[in-house]
Amino acid sequence: MSPITGGAFVVATLAKAGLFFTVLILSVMLSTIVERKFAGFIQDRSGPNRVGPWGMLQVIADGIKNIIKEETMPAGAIRPFFLLAPVLAILPATILFAVIPFGAPLPTQWGLVEMIVADVPIGFLYILAIGSIGVYGVALGGWASGSKYSLLGGLRGSAQMISYEVALALSLVPLILLAGDVRVPEIVSMQQAFTAGPATYSTWFLFPLLVGAFFFFVSGLAETNRLPFDLPEAEAELVTGYHTEYSAMKFSMFMIGEFAHVITIAALVTVFFLGGWDIPFWTGDNIRVLSDGTLIGDPTWWKTVLTLGAFSIKASLVVVIFVWIRWTLPRFRYDQLMDLGWKFMLEAVTVYILVIALVILGIEAVGIPKGGWYAFVLFLVNLGLGSVLLFALDKGTLIRGAARRGPEDTGDSDSEGNTVEGKA
């Protein structure tokens, strides 16, 4: 069956864009309630439980409240940018969704419809390009509010996002080395098993790239401004940051943007490291469309539905882990955050790329063909690297608490001895 073309392609793309956008917004609503219920569970209280069954309709009540509340415009605000910033906060996270494949291609009478809005040839680079635009919302929101607290918050937030963006991008380089292609559906296909066509690894990239997945996840946490990296907000002690002056729906848009970002990162983790829409231990769902249009596998509508389900389950699990981490770990201090980003993550990821590249070179020299054993060797290497990494992190030399800081950098010597490092 040939891929869909012509007018049907336009209709299918519009339908997919509308559908996936709706699903994204519904997931954002759902994830806010999941976060609050989970917080309640961890802190041994009920959480929202007044509106609807189990408080599930609390989101809608909050939405209505935010819409009918008064919109304030601070006297010192620079109007066009003040209005632009919330839009820029939502936009990157939502348009990133365009390149994420959600399921196996769907056969229709007009042709094969891939479950991705736009299969751009530069998929991976598109993700980086759009991701780098996300800083504008934070920076502009802080600056345009005309308040020094907002400005400082905006600077704090954008400095953090820029710092971890580097590590985020670099942590995906080994993945590209392994996948050999930047198209996102192709990255998913490489994690499946096929009897025909170019060789694949037939295992999720989580295993051959364990340490890379860890780095990606940590920088993803920092990129989305979630605990333990939620310095941009820090509502209790740092006056919230870049959205201090925003009220009602504009504030709500920043929050929607943040949750959409969380879901996007969860979807990316799923696609890159958890096999995307692949159903484990079953090869029947492995369907691949090569870049020249060749189809391998046997698409049916129920496989599309099943794989959509598999993707949702995996992505939801990642979101739940995000929430779990938020209510488990304490926040980093700002200098620890910067030290971790620039003095540890960046170097560690660079070394990791080098090691993986050398190992791949070695494997190819030995002559192991692409496939399970290839991935297994990389998995063993990653286990070794991971142990070294965790050992080094556990020594507490990389990120120091105030008490352990040397005399040269005790600019603010309130030695409370809060040793955040160690068991984290």
């Binding site: 390009a129 780098s132 930047v182």
Partner: protein
């Protein structure tokens, strides 16, 4: 038809945003409109099948360099009212003369016997074949890390020297 329309859309956006960018008094507005220019030019790169350049244009210029500009402008411009760039009648005269000169050069390109204006056409078959064989990245990466490897390394050393120099200059004040 669609191709022409898209080209005209991106070209008009780029020119319009460029004009707005140089006429803004508020430097932050100028940065935002420059970002719009980068988006429009990236769109034109995409139409030329130069996907890699389009993405890098957004990652480096739209994402990294412009954010840096924004930072610097936001911090330097705190509490200052925006002042005129062209001071006095003399400055205005020089500015106008330079502008007319550049417009003349442009006009000469359009009507004179200057080299034929490059027309925007889709990528040639050669590029298409190379992309199909080596992939989007390979087309750029192979010459970069093969034929032009030395140039790449020298550029890297040059940038490193610039970074070290900047740090040195910044530190001298504290000593």
């Amino acid at each position: 038809m669609m191709y022409d329309f898209l080209f005209q859309f991106f070209a008009a956006t780029a020119i319009l945003a460029g004009v707005i960018m140089v006429t803004r008094k508020n430097p932050v507005s100028a940065v935002i409109f420059l970002v719009v220019v980068f988006f429009a030019t990236s769109g034109m790169f995409l139409m030329l099948d130069a996907h890699y350049i389009a993405a890098i244009n957004l990652i480096l210029y739209g994402g990294a360099i412009m954010v840096l500009f924004l930072f610097v402008i936001m911090l330097l411009n705190l509490g200052h009212t925006d002042s005129e760039d062209l001071r006095g009648p003399f400055g205005g005269l020089i500015g106008g003369a330079v502008a007319i000169g550049f417009l003349g050069l442009l006009a000469r390109l359009l009507v004179g016997d200057a080299p034929a204006a490059a027309s925007v056409v889709p990528a040639g078959e050669a590029l298409r074949a190379a992309t199909a064989e080596q992939g989007i990245i390979g087309v750029v990466a192979r010459p970069l890390f093969g034929e032009y490897f030395m140039v790449l390394q020298v550029t890297g050393v040059l940038l490193l020297a610039a970074i070290v120099g900047t740090i040195l200059l910044a530190q001298r004040k504290h000593a």
